[in-house]
């Protein structure tokens, strides 16, 4: 069943069988065919498209990616087999998946200053922090609904605390003015002009710039890392009557002593880092991860305040994210162009399990895809945002939309990549569905 006429002159031929986990319209006959060994991904993709077309005449050509033994094919078949030491004699099973290709680059959302932080964990909106000290809530690209006004210095980090909140959503912002602020607003609110709101609570306690904020999964607490080398834990669900314009339907919590109307104090403080804590993550109820400029990644128990894991990586770290396979892999980037991924479950985890080094400058942000085990994005000072697949050492694609440093990046709705940079733009690249 030789599908391609041009494979006749190719001297070497590999017998392959295409398999897939995709659904009905993507299936191909489960018989082995022979293809020329100098085929690359493009050749294989056209073969699969041809096969589908024979069964389904009105099929639209679609690019595919190919996996051999769990690794993406990024060279010609022959070279791949040689490099991996796979025998070409037997029938090769090639799994194909839909290629992750960004479909559309949307209009950038313009800010007044550098975009330092972005959070897209809610499917309804996304939140950005900016160097002009304002936080902004966006419905879609270029559609700003709320402006969070109050910080006196640049916002360094933002976090959506309860993305599923029915009518009012709580978000937290961290700023270089040493405070964190909590905000509430109605996400369904749609107006032509953005609504300016102010914080319902100001969290003071850090002695230096706050670099990072992360919310607990339940939304009851947030943690923040700062230049004063500490990680502070804060309560969020404390009702405040004043200073909140959208809080008409706010919930009243019971059992909390009322403190000064809009100020909050740190519940506890995790001390251990010796330099600026640049990034914190709170993926599970008990566990907090933090990355610091003192070259270490630590895992803290939120209850006891003890650190249970300490990964030393030799470089100052800027960003950290937890995700991947069963949400256990730690990805971090710092003062070198290499994005590293550790697996803390392995004993003796000082060495990273993956290293991606296509960037040319500091890595400023990294973010795992929520659902996928393999995909993560990273932003760097070289202005590029890259999408990585753990199964290959090359980036799946590179977003080169920023003219200056890229400072932050996040996923939105599972298929859109948001990235903000020093060119005061928030770029959106949609249609990159990884599943």
């Amino acid at each position: 069943m030789d599908t391609d006429g041009n494979s006749g002159d190719a001297s070497r031929v590999v017998h392959v069988r295409f398999i897939t986990k995709l659904d009905r319209p993507f299936k191909v006959p489960n018989s082995s065919i022979s293809v020329a060994s100098n085929f690359t991904r493009f050749g294989l993709s056209s073969v699969v498209n041809n096969l589908i077309q024979t069964e389904n005449p009105d099929w639209e050509v679609e690019p595919f990616d190919f996996l051999i033994n769990g690794e993406l094919v990024r060279m010609s078949l022959e070279n791949f087999l040689l490099a991996k030491g796979i025998s070409a004699e037997t029938i090769l099973e090639i799994e194909y998946i839909r290629a992750v290709v960004p479909r559309k680059e949307e209009e950038p959302s313009l800010h007044d200053d550098w975009v330092s932080a972005v959070d897209g964990s809610s499917p309804r909106f996304f939140l950005t922090g900016c160097y002009d000290g304002l936080g902004r809530v966006w419905k879609a690209a270029g559609v700003c609904t709320h402006i969070l006004e109050g910080h006196s210095e640049p916002v360094s980090s933002v976090s959506i605390i309860n993305p599923e909140g029915a009518d009012s959503v709580t978000v937290a912002t961290a700023s270089k003015d040493r405070t964190l602020r909590l905000w509430k607003f109605n996400a369904e609110d749609t107006r032509r002009n953005p609504l300016k709101i102010s914080a319902f609570k100001i969290l003071r306690g850090h002695r230096a710039s706050v670099q990072s904020v992360a919310a607990q999964t339940s939304g009851n607490m947030i943690c923040s890392g700062s230049w004063d080398c500490t990680i502070n834990l804060w309560q969020t669900n404390e009702p405040v009557s004043e200073g909140d314009t959208v809080s008409t339907k706010k919930r009243k919590t019971i059992g909390q002593a009322k403190e000064s109307q809009s100020e909050g104090e740190a519940v506890s403080s995790l001390v251990g880092h010796t330099q600026c804590v640049s990034s914190v993550k709170w993926p599970e109820r008990e566990t907090i991860y933090s990355a610091s400029w003192d070259h270490s990644i630590r895992r803290w128990n939120a209850e006891t305040g003890k650190d249970s894991l300490n990964i030393f990586c030799g470089k100052a770290l800027n960003c950290l994210d937890i995700g991947g396979e069963s949400s256990a892999l730690v990805a971090a980037g710092g003062s070198d162009p290499i994005l590293k991924i550790w697996d803390p479950r392995k004993p003796g985890t000082s060495a990273p399990v993956y290293q991606f080094s296509s960037h040319t400058s500091w890595v400023t942000a990294c973010k795992w895809h929520e659902k996928s085990w393999f995909h993560l994005i990273s932003a760097s000072h070289d202005g590029k945002v890259m999408l990585w697949d753990l199964r290959t050492a090359w980036p799946l694609f590179v977003i080169d939309a920023h003219k200056d440093k890229a400072l932050c990046a996040d996923w939105w709705r599972g298929e859109t990549v948001l990235s903000g940079g020093a060119d005061s733009k928030l770029c959106m690249t949609s249609g990159a569905s990884v599943l």
């Binding site: 002695r207 230049w227 400029w293 800027n318 162009p337 400058s361 000072h381 440093k405 020093a422």
Partner: protein, 683 residues
């Protein structure tokens, strides 16, 4: 003589007797001779022997037969030359000489006689003897080295008379003696004796010596002569270089493969004189046609010139591996981390950045530029947070090391400005604001201290302005952040000021400096104060009212900058001629090490606060990073390893990198360039 003669004469008769008996028996003379010989064995078997000598008979010479006639004895026959007799016979009668034949007659007779060649003249008996054929045969056999008689078999099988087949008893039935089974006592005695003698040293084992001699006696026959001359005692003997042995190509008629073709000969002409082959093989059909050597005279002349002008000289050549002369330094990969590559640039200045200073926590960096602005940058993103327009070219910026104050000291023109950076929390801001306010009614501006410095409030920049009388080039803070010193090179003896911020008070210390002051630094732990002029660094003790503690002679012509190691015992000095000096204060006042590094002026040197690193930056647009390990053990010298040359800045108006400072906590280096960019090099 007479005795022996007499004895002989006595002896002869007995033989003669036997002979005479034989003669009497009437057998032939030949037989008699045999008999006499046989008589030695015994006379028993006469009949047997008589049978025997019939075969042997003719082989015997006739000499013996004749002997009995002349009994003159063993005297030279010359004695009887003139006598008529030749001797005496046994009875004492004279034996008359024969009449001599005429020579011609005898010759004719010999010519006639075919047997004449076999005749021998017997002088003793004066007669001619004719040899028989058998005689001649046996003579020839004897000459050939064989047994005289043909029938004698020299290789006859050996007959063992003492063993035979049916012998019942051995010849000797004696048992084997015991001595054949035990070691000999006398021999062991002898061995012991020798052993003792060797031990005492009476006998020296000669064998080893012989062996040595044997070894020495072996020498390389074709070895190099020059080696053997080393043993010579001659002082000036220099062997001539060994000429190459002639090969086939130097033959007058070499085989064809040695003859170069015409093309090859032409190609020789293109070669350099030295590379050209000295000898080109040629063929000649015969030796005759070989011409005279055309270069003979020339070479002779050159040789004479050589001998006259270039006598051979013994050259002392040092055989040293240049690698071994290099100091053994650790691999720089083992000395990580250190700054390697530039990842961040801080752009915004419009002219050369002259000075940078990093805040104590490492979050911000301040830079001053010739365009008259001072900027504060965020280190991690490269964002300019703040900038002041001073109006004059900024010479020097220095961040207050105390984290409780957010004060930046800036020197521009004749002023030193103390600015509030606004970095830090509310308490810091409050205390800073208090510090930076000067009561306007100053206690007489130039009254009691007669200082040439006036403290003024600068409302526009929200800080303090210290007005000096001359241009200020450098500002350095004391580690506690209260005192700071300013350098005014034109001030001669009053070039250095020490200011106290909390009291807004200026102290002028008059140091006797020869030449204008360049820069001044506070000791990081003790009350010492370093002032450098162009050539010398002086160390003063501020507690003891400015007493001169030490004088460091750099040996440099143009000191541009100094930096003190955080331990305080080591100083590095950069100079205008691109040299770097490392001083060990405890060791001596001379530099421990001087390194010639840069092509152009060194503008600044800097130590890292915690890592063992230091750096220099220069107008040749590079910054050098070194590993400078200082050991607490006083006996161990500091280890200096060059690590990295950092490039990236471009030259502007002949200036390169103006300043370099380390990040206080990371192994990162900031460099300020004349190309108006500040760069951050990370590990």
């Amino acid at each position: 003589m007479s005795d022996s003669e007499g004895y002989d004469s006595d002896d002869y008769p007995s033989i003669r007797g036997s002979d005479s008996e034989d003669e009497e028996s009437g057998s032939s003379g030949n037989e008699d001779v045999l008999n006499t010989s046989n008589n030695d064995h015994g006379n028993d078997d006469e009949s047997d022997s008589s049978e025997l000598h019939e075969g042997v008979e003719e082989s015997d010479s006739s000499e013996d037969e004749v002997v009995p006639r002349n009994t003159v004895g063993d005297v030279p026959l010359e004695w009887y030359r003139d006598e008529k007799h030749i001797g005496y016979d046994i009875t004492g009668k004279k034996i008359k000489k024969k009449e001599k034949e005429d020579k011609l007659q005898s010759f004719l007779a010999s010519a006639d006689d075919s047997k004449n060649w076999r005749k021998i003249y017997d002088e003793y008996n004066d007669e001619d003897v004719e040899l028989t054929k058998e005689d001649i045969k046996s003579i020839s056999r004897l000459l050939e080295g064989k047994a005289p008689h043909r029938d004698f078999d020299p290789y006859a099988p050996y007959v063992d008379w003492f063993k035979w087949d049916d012998s019942k008893h051995p010849l000797s039935n004696a048992p084997e003696p015991k001595r054949r089974f035990i070691p000999s006592k006398s021999e062991s005695k002898l061995v012991n004796k020798i052993k003792l003698a060797i031990r005492k040293g009476l006998i020296k084992p000669k064998k080893s010596k012989e062996e040595e001699e044997e070894e020495e006696s072996v020498y390389p026959l074709w070895g190099d002569d020059s080696n053997s001359t080393g043993k010579n005692d001659h002082l000036s003997y220099i062997p001539a270089p060994k000429p190459k042995l002639p090969g086939h190509e130097e033959s007058f008629n070499p085989s064809l493969e040695y003859i170069p073709t015409q093309e090859e000969i032409n190609s020789y002409q293109l070669m350099y004189e030295e590379d050209r082959p000295k000898f080109i093989p040629k063929r000649f059909t015969s030796m005759r046609s070989i011409p005279a050597y055309e270069n003979a005279v020339k070479e002779c002349f050159e040789r004479c010139l050589d001998l006259y002008l270039c006598p051979r000289v013994r050259k002392k050549r040092l055989n040293i591996d240049p690698e071994s002369l290099k100091p053994k330094l650790p691999n720089r990969n083992d000395l990580k981390p250190y700054p390697v590559s530039c990842y961040l640039e801080y752009r915004g200045h419009e002219d050369a950045v002259t000075s940078i200073s990093v805040e104590a926590s490492g979050q911000w960096i301040a830079s001053g530029s010739l365009d008259g602005t001072v900027r504060i940058w965020e280190v991690e993103t490269g964002r300019c947070l703040k900038h002041w327009k001073i109006g004059e070219a900024v010479k020097y910026v220095s961040w207050n090391p105390n984290p409780e104050h957010s004060i930046l000291a800036v020197s521009a023109g004749q002023d030193v400005l103390l600015l509030n950076t606004g970095c830090g929390n509310e308490e810091v801001q409050k205390s800073t604001k208090e510090l930076l306010s000067v009561e306007m009614p100053m206690p007489d501006d130039s009254g009691k201290t007669a200082s040439s410095v006036s403290w003024l409030q600068d409302d526009k920049l929200e800080g303090i302005r210290l007005r000096h009388s001359k241009t200020v080039t450098a500002v350095e803070w004391h580690r506690k952040g209260d005192y700071f010193s300013t350098v005014m090179p034109a001030g001669e003896s009053r070039a250095i000021f020490i200011h106290k911020l909390s009291k807004k008070f200026t102290q002028t210390l008059s140091f006797k400096l020869q030449g204008p002051a360049v820069t001044s630094v506070f000791h990081p732990t003790r009350s010492f104060f370093f002032i450098s002029t162009k050539k010398i660094i002086r160390v003063y003790d501020l507690v003891k009212e400015g007493k001169l503690v030490k004088k460091l002679e750099t040996g440099l012509r143009e000191i541009s900058s100094i930096a003190v190691h955080p331990s305080g015992d080591h100083i590095i000095v950069g100079s205008g001629e691109g040299k770097l000096c490392w001083f060990d204060m405890d060791l001596s006042s001379k530099p421990y090490k001087t390194l010639k590094l840069h092509q152009k002026d060194i503008n600044n040197v800097s130590f890292h606060r915690s890592y063992p690193l230091f750096a220099t930056c220069s107008d040749d647009c590079t910054a050098y990073v070194f590993h400078g390990m200082v050991y607490s053990d006083l006996n161990q010298n500091p280890l200096i390893v060059p690590l990295e040359i950092l490039r990236g800045h471009s030259s502007t108006n002949g200036r390169g990198v103006m300043d370099c400072k380390f990040h206080p906590r990371q192994p990162w280096l900031f460099t300020a360039g004349a190309d108006s960019v500040v760069r951050l090099y990370c590990h």
